[in-house]
């Protein structure tokens, strides 16, 4: 990539967010505007995918709600993200955890990483 384009991307990056890894259990709080009212909504789940560099980076978070799998992709550096909490980390061997989509219940559980 051109170095000037790279610099422009870096300007828009948010450095206040924690570093997320694949398999982390996270809660992402996003700002939601309803008319002129603003409220904050959290989304909790497992990070199954990270892609893109610099300001283009996104993370996909998966959770199972009432037996239905839900995946949400967040642009990591969006100003609409209020804050991110990392609840726990897991031991994973892949970069993308797509295999979780086929698993249910206890089989879909990841081993927790302790240090």
């Amino acid at each position: 990539m051109n170095e000037i384009v790279d610099l422009i991307e870096k300007e828009h990056m948010r450095l206040d967010l924690p570093e997320i890894s694949i398999g982390d259990n996270v809660r992402i709080y996003t700002k939601i505007f309803e008319g002129d009212k603003e409220r904050i909504q959290g989304f909790e789940g497992v990070v199954i995918k990270k892609r893109g560099g610099n300001t283009r980076a996104t993370v996909t978070v998966r959770k199972v709600s009432h037996g239905v799998g839900i995946e949400k992709t967040f642009p990591l550096h969006s100003p609409l993200i209020d804050r991110i909490e990392i609840l726990s980390k897991s031991k994973v061997r892949r970069a993308k955890l797509y295999y979780l989509r086929k698993l249910k219940g206890k089989a879909a559980k990841l081993k927790e990483k302790r240090d």
Binding site: V5, H12, N54, P75, S78, P79
Partner: protein, 215 residues
């Protein structure tokens, strides 16, 4: 048409606007631009300003006629030269050898960007004109991306002119109109424009005020 800027496409990226929306943008290096020659109605028969962009570092690569052309105005030889047709007042205001400032554009303005599109080589009708091709199943064989019939029989006895057929695609002059300027950086001569522009990265482009859309 008025004076414009010359530039080089550096690539595309995305930025966030004030509402948090993702905006796709193109980054252009648009300067320094210098006025190399002034053509006037009295001398050449029409009003225009010749603008140069992108200094040639290796002076041995420049031929003698061009070297002389740049020596007249005391400016290092440049790779990209273009004339802009201008009105009488632009001829009076702008001096030869002066810089064309990027400050002529401001964020929120609309511009037209002209460039040479990426060459696609010899392309078929599906890629070139968006034909649908033939059905992929039910007995079709050796006829998947063809254009179908090119005309009737005895009458008219020939294929009509202008019939869309395979041929060379791309590598031609293309103008994209009404692109919004997101940011102008005067110190580094960087222009950030919303949306895509013709041509490859490092391709030369011409940036003019939008003809159809005013701010």
């Amino acid at each position: 048409m008025g004076l414009g800027l010359l530039g080089k496409k550096l690539g595309m990226t995305q930025v966030f606007d004030e509402h948090g929306n993702i905006v796709p943008v193109t980054v252009i290096k648009a300067g320094p631009n210098f006025i190399i020659q002034k053509k006037t109605k009295t001398k050449e028969g029409y009003n225009s300003l010749q603008v140069g962009f992108d200094e040639i570092k290796k002076v041995t690569r420049v031929n003698k006629p061009l070297t002389g052309h740049f020596k007249k105005v005391n400016i290092a030889p440049m790779r990209f030269l273009t004339e802009f047709m201008v009105g009488d007042e632009d001829i009076d205001v702008n001096e030869v050898a002066s810089e064309v400032s990027i400050g002529m554009f401001a964020p929120g303005d609309f511009v037209d960007v002209t460039g040479i599109s990426k060459g696609k080589g010899f392309a078929g009708v599906v890629k070139r004109y968006g034909f649908k091709g033939a059905p992929a199943s039910r007995g079709t064989h050796e006829f998947f991306r063809h254009g179908g019939s090119i005309g009737a029989h005895t009458f008219p006895g020939r294929t009509m002119k202008g019939r869309k057929m395979p041929g060379h695609m791309g590598a031609q002059k293309v103008t994209v109109q009404n692109l919004k300027i997101v940011d102008v950086r005067g110190d580094t001569n960087i222009l950030i424009i919303e949306g895509a522009i013709p041509g490859p990265t490092d391709g030369y482009v011409i940036i003019r005020k939008a003809v159809k859309k005013q701010k």
